[in-house]
Symmetry: C2
């Protein structure tokens, strides 16, 4: 076929021209002398219209053979149609069948989540997963653009580590040539070494938690982006986090209008994601909970109900900072104004999506950090390289981590994290 | 201090102005009434000059205390100096010491590779690793930009998989809630499912091989980028690969001049990386080896010596295509012109760096692929989802994988892959 090959999302630039389209049958229907085919090619869906009399009868016979998801090459002329989603329709000319699909398991009827997850390799073709993963794609691009154009250096931190950053009960373990290796839960400690070498760095890769949890908020494998900045303190860290979130969320809103519409996402709350965000201390947060008659004891960590209650009081993401030191990781710097508190911060998303960012200023004093390593029963040998960072030109530094799937779930307004990953991994889900 | 904070690589924009610099002592020396300090801040290195008489004696006393890698804040005025690397020097005014470093283990003397790798968390601060990882950073950005602006959708494929893509002897294994999971060696099979949903996709993440190999060409953990395109055949795949490589290599050349100079890289061969690349079939490659009197039997795979010999005959990367099917993976499509051959392709880098890209057209016929799965003794159950892609609208498709560390080693002209990773993982190297 000699027409130029066009993708569906580019058809608006081919008005009045004949093009060659390649894709899959999303659906089809007949109405008297007209045949309609919804063609999907991965970039969009367009309606092809076939008129009896204007094309050979053999083409109509081919049309009748087509099943859902059959693959085809279609030649046709692009016509403006303002009612259509992409603003165009195609008047079908030639039709070539590449492959007739067997009866497709996913139809317009309702399917259970387990069935859909077992068919995730096919479910990706459906309109909602497609929109969700497109948003993830644009969100990830916005994240990388933000750091790449703000002087950050990408440091790919290792997945295989000799020890855990926090706790060991949720670690995946593998044999490593007679030794044991653990799959990383965070690149932070390595990113700190990177920050001392490059000033501003970020790592961005998969992380792993062997959590025996079946809630909608947990995956065993998820992607996390973690910036780390030399000379930043807690305040500078919050400024970075809010600028980062504003930039990336506004980018998604600007570039994913069609996808957010598919997901019927009310974007008003997302429009509000503009720096600065409210900052409330842990102590203030406890007061807010009290004022709402939510039972909560000072010193505990917030769970989902508390996070939701706190976020409800504001119309944009909020920072909660200065947590009780004993509920935070060993590497967090103590607040000089009150050593019972740690210079940590969480960013809570609105609408009950909870913590999407966690971070803070790191302990930069060698002796203090060494004591904390010992107190936690961690191996000083395993952490000696990390302690080194406080021996050779220690500087204040801070960073944070943002979980991709959780944030994408919020952006998309979807309930389960699993839909924010192409092939989600959970306690009972290792396939496909 | 009230001067604006400036990073070293931005000083050229502050000529004649006083700025505040924050960083680490790279080196220092004295000469009569002058003190010189090379300050490194992660973005570059600049010389600070202190003149006796022009600053308080107490500042000179502080200067004398400074050790290599001590962290400091310096106020000073930026002066043009065309002899200096960044085109500037700084006339030192104030000096504040944040932390006096203990005796730094890495000095100007030669260190063995094992010592340096054990101190990788500090070694990153040295000028060569810094340049290498900056090049990696820019290369990765160019890769993502290429795909993100050419209609590809990022699909993060899973690390945990229930089975291996090729063989099982080099798989890392982990217990997965009473089941076994294996760490992915390639995202390709999942990317194929993605291509049927999005048309053009890429995955880009860490991959794992438990190879008991101690050569300079092997890491147990390395990053790989893998595009996969629906409707592409072998020829289109080669066109994509050469455009991709031209774009990314030329970007690195344009953006990393200083870093390539640090590494004393002769870039003339890299300048040559321009599409189209020569294409030679496996059969032609065997003839070339014969003509060079290199003993080689038809049907074998090329090793490092053969790859080097083949690449030597050309001044740019080359494609070798259409390999004997029996040395290629089960998912490769057989050449319709000769079923003994598979529609695979390798791209060989010049200068003895060997294969940097491997890929090809995938088998798209259900029965053929199913037979191959059986022939290889693979579990049909584990691959049933992959076979599904040939049941429901199968289309020709192709893709390839490029190993980041191997390509960065070539770009940098370094001998060992391990220097192309921030924290390399090898058979005997799991720390730091």
């Amino acid at each position: 076929m000699s027409n130029p090959i066009a993708s569906v999302n580019q058809l608006i630039h081919h008005l009045g021209k004949s093009v060659s389209l390649r894709g899959w049958v999303y659906s089809k229907r007949s109405s008297g002398k007209i045949r309609f085919l919804m063609l999907r090619d991965g970039t969009g869906i367009v309606q092809i219209v076939w008129m009896k009399g204007q094309i050979p009868d053999t083409t109509f016979e081919l049309f009748d053979k087509l099943t859902q998801e059959s693959s085809v090459i279609i030649e046709g002329k692009v016509r403006e149609d303002k009612r259509a989603k992409g603003g165009v329709e195609v008047d079908g000319e030639k039709l070539e069948i590449l492959h007739i699909a067997e009866e497709y398991p996913i139809g317009p009827k309702e399917h259970g989540p387990d069935f859909l997850l077992s068919n995730r390799h096919l479910w990706l073709r459906s309109i909602r997963p497609h929109a969700t993963l497109k948003i993830r794609d644009r969100f990830v691009k916005a994240i990388r653009d933000f750091f790449d154009t703000n002087g950050f250096t990408l440091i790919d931190t290792p997945i295989f580590t000799p020890s855990a950053c926090e706790g060991t009960t949720t670690l995946f373990e593998t044999e490593y040539f007679g030794d044991k290796a653990y799959l990383s839960q965070s690149g932070q400690l390595y990113a700190e070494a990177g920050a001392m070498a490059f000033g501003k760095v970020y790592c961005f890769g998969p992380t792993f938690r062997a959590e025996k949890s079946k809630t909608r908020r947990h995956l065993t494998e998820f992607w996390m982006v973690e910036p780390e900045v030399a000379f930043n303190d807690l305040d500078a860290n919050m400024v970075l986090a809010e600028q980062f979130l504003e930039y990336t969320v506004q980018k998604v809103l600007a570039e994913c209008k069609a996808e957010l519409e598919v997901l019927q996402r009310d974007t008003s709350k997302l429009q509000n994601v503009r720096a600065p965000f409210p900052r409330i201390s842990y102590n203030e947060a406890v007061e807010i909970l009290k004022s709402k008659n939510i039972p909560f004891e000072w010193g505990n960590d917030f769970g989902a109900p508390e996070e939701t209650a706190l976020a409800e009081s504001f119309d944009k993401p909020i920072f909660v900072h200065r947590f009780p030191a004993k509920i935070k990781a060993f590497y967090m710097k103590a607040d000089p104004a009150n050593p019972e508190l740690a210079l940590g911060m969480d960013c809570l998303a609105p609408e009950g999506y909870g913590e999407i960012i966690g971070g803070g200023q790191r302990e930069d004093d060698y002796q203090t950090l060494r004591s904390k390593v010992k107190e936690q029963g961690l191996s000083e040998e395993n952490f000696s390289w990390y302690l080194d960072l406080r021996k050779y030109g220690s500087v204040p530094h801070a960073g944070f981590g943002l979980g991709i799937e959780r944030t994408v779930a919020w952006l998309c307004g979807i309930e389960h994290l699993r839909e924010a990953a192409a092939f989600p991994r959970m306690m009972y889900r290792l396939r496909p």
